[in-house]
Amino acid sequence: MAIDVRREVPAPRARGSFLSDPKFRSVLYQVLVVGGVILVGWYLVNNTLSNLARQNIATGFGFLGRESSFAIGEHMISYSAADSYGRAILVGILNTIKVSLLGIVAATVLGTIVGIARLSSNWLVRKLALVYVEALRNVPLLLQLFLWYAVITESLPGPRQALQPVEGVFLSNRGFKIPTPSDHPAWDAALLAFLLALVISWIVQRRSAALQARTGRRLPVGIITAGLVIGLPLLTWGGFGAPLVFDVPRLQGFNFVGGATLTPEFAAMLIGLTTYTAAFIAEIVRSGIQAVSWGQTEAASALGLRPGLTLRLVVLPQALRVIIPPLTSQYLNLTKNSSLAVAIGYADLVSVLNTSINQTGQAIEGVALIMACFLTISLGISIFMNWYNKRIALVER
């Protein structure tokens, strides 16, 4: 309602009424609108509370501390039915964040590849990418999730007939089972070495950039990084005598025990969200690339840059400025779409809160919590992407 008074109109005091003062009126209108919104909000909240009280329906967030008494299939932090509703909801939030973040990373990679493929000079690649985009973005995501889930659970054998592509790795309709390193100092040391290698690589990268700015020469950054990231942990592990201690999954009773599991529900969610969102991201990437004028590519070719380098050094950096804002929307969509998890049994925030709502009957509080959590996650993504957008924006001189 901000009314922009561009021209300073001399106050018509001669007519006497302050109501005809444009400044006063603009303030008045805004006060009225804000007051109206507050009144309606107050009416709704008050009406709901008094009706709930009259119908003897309990209200408040006291239930968060009570014992949840229900189990959750997939949890990143320890959780049992003896834990509180609050912890159950935390498990759900973490599961939502897990599938959203992994989905965002995977969809970005896949979407960029498909987007570039859409502009390929190879007819077959170009058309395949087109078919991919049109097929995936025009079918409702819920159906795609059902499809992926059915494909995984129906086509894979039961745990007792599990496929074993590599010794110790099992593929069945209970999920993808892989061995994990068991507790041993060698593994911890190797992990530390890996992190150290990342830090050193980053420093080398900075040095190389500085060197190039000064002298025009570059260090062989790729080889150094690969050597560090692979070699350093390997050497450390070897230094401990290369102990082969793994927690290998094994069949016991109904199912596998030990190792780590990628559940069918999580896999279906991740595949579904990734492939669906990647179709939209591909179109954003394509349009971003096409927004960079063709003259840039020609200029780069004239300077003798190979097509791959042209894309990486000239076109993509400029395309990013067009790509980032709509990409942010896709990231937010993916995060919000993860709430479809309840349909195929992935224990995300909505699924956990659904159960909580029904065990406690506190629908309004539960729905408010769902909205607050999604708002927080989405705002976090927005803030990060806006920061990144500013960083890559054209620096005008």
Binding site: I57, F254, V342, G345, S351
Partner: protein
């Protein structure tokens, strides 16, 4: 999902609107609109399930028809709202349905904190486990480590966790909202075990299983599941009607009044039969109904035994025994309070 949030939102908004309708008794509202809005299962064979022609069939469905017969004199004046386990209480609270006859377990928490009242139990059930025969499991105590398919938002989910905790066993739940999806996850082999009320297991095995003989229902019942219709709090007259329709159907079975012979029974010399059928006394008037209320109910759906046999009994695909649901005179728990 969206539907549920919409429902919650609608509940939030309609609490204000619905308050006007609730000021008067539910029965007045029903008479005015000319039908009963009945919350039903989205599809559970034997309890509430639309057939291929779209006609609702089932024990709970027959109860809704019985209420319509009692209040409006016409069993066909009922409309069904299929509700998921999670939508059901919100739908009742918000006034979207007049009565919830949807195999709902009566518990203390539900009775006290959800703003509803439970009528007498119309089906005594218990939670059971169904497993594939090829697993050679004979007792629920052997299920340690199993993966269990279960629907959310039910007492089932809690009993399941309680049972495994009490027996010091681990399990992995696969919690899927829609009945169809959770059942198909079990039949695809995603889970070793499917758990719900034993009657529901029998219904699923009879109507969905590719090969019913490949699945066994384990003998243990791990919980008491008294399934009862529910109404909103604050309208004792409507609750009385829902309560006494059930008792009248039990009394009718006890006295041998059936759908077929109800007209001859009008001339019976038995004073109890006369009171039930409204030949003498003012039983209907006391409930705010026509004195022929129970006659209409029995004429429309029959007595309790007939409703049971027609929907879930030995001649149906569910093949359930009367068991706990036999009349008290035959060793069961169904005990009709006297209509007098």
């Amino acid at each position: 999902m969206t539907k549920k949030i919409l429902l919650a939102g609608a509940a939030l908004l309609s609490l204000g609107v619905a308050s006007a309708a609730q000021a008067g008794p539910t029965v007045d509202a029903i008479r005015q609109k000319g039908f009963i809005q009945c919350g039903s299962n989205t599809g559970l064979a034997g309890f509430g399930n639309p057939d291929s022609a779209g006609n609702w069939k089932g024990l709970d469905v027959d109860y809704c028809r019985a209420y319509a017969a009692a209040v409006l004199g016409d069993a066909s004046k009922v409309r069904f709202t299929p509700l998921s386990a999670q939508q059901r209480f919100t739908a009742l609270q918000s006034g979207e349905v007049d009565v919830l006859a949807r195999n709902t377990t009566a518990t203390l928490t539900r009775d006290t904190s959800l703003g509803l009242e439970f009528a007498p139990v119309n089906f005594y059930d218990g939670q059971g486990f169904m497993v594939q025969k090829s697993l050679n499991v004979t007792s629920a105590k052997q299920l340690a480590g199993a993966t269990v398919c279960v629907q959310p938002g039910t007492t089932t989910e809690l009993n399941l966790a309680d049972f495994f905790r009490a027996n010091n066993m681990q399990f992995t739940p696969v919690v899927i909202e829609s009945q169809d999806e959770v059942v198909s996850a079990y039949f695809s082999g995603r889970c070793d075990v499917y758990t719900t009320d034993a009657s529901g297991l029998a219904g699923t095995r009879a109507s969905v299983a590719p090969k019913p003989e490949d699945h066994v229902i384990l003998p243990e019942l791990i919980s008491k599941e008294p399934l009862a219709p529910a109404v909103r709090q604050g309208d004792p007259q409507w609750k009385d009607i829902v309560t006494w329709v059930h008792y009248a159907m039990l009394e009718a079975e006890e006295k041998g009044i059936t759908q077929a012979n109800v007209d001859q029974m009008m001339t019976s010399a038995d004073p109890t039969v006369q009171r039930i059928l409204g030949v003498t006394g003012e039983m209907g008037k006391a409930l705010g109904l026509d004195n022929k209320w129970a006659y209409n109910v029995i004429k429309a759906v029959g007595n309790y035994g007939e409703v049971f046999e027609r929907n879930v009994g030995a001649q149906t695909p569910l093949r359930l025994e009367r068991g706990l649901n036999a009349l008290w005179t035959k060793g069961g728990l169904q005990y009709g309070q006297p209509v007098r």
